[in-house]
């Protein structure tokens, strides 16, 4: 398993800068506009986007390298089981998301320090702890997306699963439908009441994190089962 995680690491090292630049390119106008209208906290916006995009992009880009050069097939000739292949990839996705949380948090803090020099002020500066927690939240959402995508990719391979990768994003589009959006707003309102009753959002945050971890582990078990039945 260490061998596979090492191989994944060598790949990520090579593609990291490319994806960071893409993320920053997408992020920049949103951050600046958000700051101008005074409604979006720049630091949390940076960390959220950075973590979400980088976690998903980097993890899926490693899958792309599986099919190049027949690596996907060859690695099973090493003393490595199919379960180890799946577990190493799930573990690596978690490590990637944690790495991007640290990076995104640092970028978020930097943005909150630099933007006042340009614009005079920043809307609702949050400080490192809030930015970091926003990053953790974004990482959990990213891992939730990957929980949906990875079993499909392990089952079909990245080439055949390309369409399926957009499933989580398509599910998000459901919130543009009024009844679904109303249901979500209603749920969020209820959660706000719960938060008010508890006096702190921490239990809700922890509960959400636990739910994502359970879904992630269930997704890993499903991937193990699907991948063990695959042939190359």
């Amino acid at each position: 398993m260490r061998a596979l995680m090492y191989a994944d690491w060598t790949i990520v090292r090579r593609v990291f800068l490319r994806y960071l630049l893409i993320t920053m390119f997408v992020m920049t106008p949103i951050v600046v506009m958000g700051n101008n209208d005074g409604e979006l906290a720049a630091g949390t916006a940076v960390v959220t986007m950075c973590v979400m995009m980088m976690t998903i992009y980097l993890t899926l880009s490693i899958f792309s390298f599986d099919t190049s050069n027949d690596w996907e097939q060859f690695r099973l000739a090493l003393p490595i089981s199919t379960h180890q292949v799946v577990r190493s990839r799930y573990a690596f996705a978690v490590l990637t998301s944690l790495g991007t949380v640290l990076l995104g948090s640092a970028l978020g803090v930097l943005v909150e320090l630099v933007l006042p020099l340009i614009h005079g002020s920043v809307a609702a500066p949050r400080g490192f702890v809030i930015i970091f927690l926003a990053g953790i939240g974004a990482a959990l959402v990213g891992l939730l997306f990957l929980s949906i995508e990875m079993p499909i990719v392990f089952h079909l391979g990245i080439e055949k699963a390309r369409m399926a990768i957009s499933i989580p994003f398509m599910l998000c589009m459901l919130f543009t439908i009024e009844p679904v959006r109303d249901a979500l707003i209603s749920l969020l309102n209820k959660l706000e009441h719960v938060e008010a009753a508890l006096g702190t959002p921490a239990p809700l945050f922890a509960g959400g994190a636990c739910a994502v971890i359970l879904v992630y582990l269930a997704s890993m078990r499903l991937s193990e089962h699907l991948y063990a039945n695959r042939e190359f």
């Binding site: 260490r2 090492y6 060598t10 690596w71 089981s81």
Partner: protein, 311 residues
């Protein structure tokens, strides 16, 4: 008295210990079936797997490596049936097995040094010093240490695979077309390294190759596979005993009428003559001293077995 020419030979290894024992392995695909294939790789020996493209060599190798699931039969690695092993036990056993593919199948952004590190993580008994020795000898180190896999030539890629796999402490090597696409000098280097690795009596190898001259140099046993079936398996020396008789029509009829060819005779028809596979050239020439019977090469035997008609 005329002695009867024996039927096609089949490998008989008696009680020799085997690192790999494949028994009646079957795998169905649409349009192709690997049909009840059996073979053994005795410890300390090289078994050459010969067959046309699509004959089933790679499917058989994939079955042994576990990248396809067999429909029937069994595969024993180092005396243990792989189907009865847990994933952890199989991983443990696979530390004694290494694979060299026809293409250099590592992520193409990895460097030579990183590939070696990966092997070090994967194989418990990886010998870094042995790797460096092999890699230096083959010209990979130090000059190509930082080169990416995608920038290596086919020959260098194969050398990287060999340096890593032969240093990983495995006892059984499975090599799929290791010399395909290499120039004669690199091919000879590859064979030299394999020969050297095989000097250790604990090492065994199963090698598939279209380049039968390579197998003539290195194999102890040969297994011919065609249409998903083993059609002949024998010791390498058995090929030296074989011959190709070049016969005219009447001569062929006479030989067949004499009933010297047991069970089945493989005959390839040309415009004015016939080639017939003879399992014992010396005996044939003693019986028919006036007929022409040349020494058979592995290629000759394969062509007769695949393209010849059975009489």
């Amino acid at each position: 008295m005329i002695s009867k020419t024996p039927a096609l030979p089949f490998m008989d290894i008696g009680d020799e210990p085997c690192d790999l024992h494949v028994s009646s392995v079957t795998k169905h695909y649409d349009g192709f079936t690997l049909n009840s294939v059996s073979l053994d790789v005795p410890r300390g020996s090289v078994v050459g797997l010969i067959g046309q493209n699509g004959a089933g060599k790679t499917t058989l190798m994939k079955s042994i490596l576990g990248t396809v699931h067999i429909d029937g039969g069994s595969i024993e690695l180092f005396g243990r049936n792989v189907a009865s092993l847990s994933q952890n036990e199989l991983v443990e056993l696979r530390n004694r097995l290494c694979f060299v593919g026809a293409v250099t199948a590592y992520p193409n952004v990895m460097t030579v040094t990183e590939v070696a590190h990966m092997y070090q993580f994967a194989f418990r008994s990886f010998d870094q010093a042995a790797y460096e020795q092999f890699a230096t000898r083959m010209g990979l180190l130090p000059s190509s240490a930082g080169k990416k896999v995608k920038d290596l030539s086919r020959g260098m890629g194969m050398k990287l695979q060999l340096a890593c796999t032969l240093a990983c402490g495995a006892d059984l090597a499975i090599l799929d077309e290791p010399t395909a696409g290499l120039d004669p000098i690199v091919r000879e280097e590859v064979l030299d390294i394999l020969r050297e690795w095989m000097e250790d009596d604990r090492h065994s190898a199963l090698i598939s190759s279209h380049i039968t001259t390579d197998l003539e140099k290195i194999a102890d046993y040969l297994v011919f596979i065609e249409n998903g079936q083993v059609i002949m398996s024998c010791e390498r020396d058995a090929i030296d005993m074989m011959g190709i008789a070049h016969l005219r029509s009447a001569e062929l009829e006479r030989v067949l009428a004499d009933g010297l060819i047991a069970d089945r005779a493989y005959v390839l028809r040309h415009d004015l003559s016939y080639d017939m596979l003879v399992t014992n050239r010396a005996a044939f020439l003693r019986t028919y001293p006036d007929y022409v019977c040349d020494r058979a090469s592995i290629d000759d035997v394969m062509v007769l077995l695949v393209k010849g008609e059975v009489r």
